[in-house]
Symmetry: none
Subunit: 244 residues, 2 copies
Amino acid sequence: MAEKKAHPIFYIVLVEPKNSGNIGAVARAMMNFDVDKLYLVNPCELDSVCYARAMHATKILDDAKTFSCFEDAVKNLDYLVATSSIESKTDKRHLRNPLFLEDFAEKVLEVKGKIGLVFGREDYGLFNEEIAACDIMLKIPTSESYPSLNLSHAVTIVLYSLYLRKAYIPKRRRPMGPLEKKKLYEFFGQLLDDIDYPPHKKEHTTIMFKRIMGRAMPSKWEYHTLMGVFSKTLGKIKRTQGKK
Amino acid sequence: MAEKKAHPIFYIVLVEPKNSGNIGAVARAMMNFDVDKLYLVNPCELDSVCYARAMHATKILDDAKTFSCFEDAVKNLDYLVATSSIESKTDKRHLRNPLFLEDFAEKVLEVKGKIGLVFGREDYGLFNEEIAACDIMLKIPTSESYPSLNLSHAVTIVLYSLYLRKAYIPKRRRPMGPLEKKKLYEFFGQLLDDIDYPPHKKEHTTIMFKRIMGRAMPSKWEYHTLMGVFSKTLGKIKRTQGKK
């Protein structure tokens, strides 16, 4: 029997969309690129304008899941991608240190699992705590003089970019899951504590580590190897400290 | 004197757009990708909905040129590109035999002159005689089950694709250099030694670490932060071991 190809499954997550026409336009773009899972966090009403803009994609609207908060919407997704037109001017701000769409699109099709593509509010985008909860921050290259894309345009560009590359899918690695990710970041946090890392730098450095791992998308096997190194390191520090 | 690079100049030509919101959304997308020349053939009224959707791109609407027929709009353009979601099933129908967007985008930036990107009506697209008047027919890859893109989405995808390839290369993060990479891997190797990592696994694990970092492409600043964590970790282990 032929092995079934495991593709990542994309979920479009719209956080507090205020314009119902945009939601309909997003649904249409999703159908144009064979993506059908729509999650809405605290959206405006899906009114007749919304359905009119969706054209033939009304089923996506009918099947959309609504959540009252961001955490609930994303808790069952394996990998979260924040999108923003706003880019940090220096690369010291890890939180908004972005991966460019084309680089992301090339890598993401190698993994499997549920990938949440998270788009923020029309006016404010995503809040910092929402971005921090994501594995990576995605940047769509746009004009410096007017970078802010319409919501459905942003979704369209991301979906088009992914759709283009689906034809050329290399062999995929099994990525580490959410629990494994959590554990890895806990170990990293523990390491920072054990080496007396300056507390005021800890959050920044932890987010940087998340971003590096988010870009690298380690496989399960790489995860286990990394964890082996971490636990040996922590063990060594603890043992020798106990001897003080 | 430095040779001035000759870029093509792009003109967005909308043929008989019926939905004023679409025209506004197109203007916004144009400004997002640094294109400002809009030609309208027999359009609907540019009403308040149109201006609202344009957001900061109202100047593009104000400067748009209106024509009563297709021939007048395109007569001063050097090269005409028809766009359509409809694709001919056989390649015998030369008229609609398309060039794929990505292939077009790679080539077109080498030419100079006025390039008209022609988009048809929301419902009927372009008529055969309009397509025949164009130099090429462009195809945006979309789902076979629902290929028809919203007008402003189609414009957005084409402009994004061209923007990506422009002499403009998106400013990426400053990646760490070869010396920094070497140092990082040395520190990792040192860590493996200091934690008594099994020697027969060392090479494999070092390569894995290189692969993870290779995919993550850390910036210079991330490199320095990572090195800070490593050297504190190595220092901690050394100091406590020295006390044994």
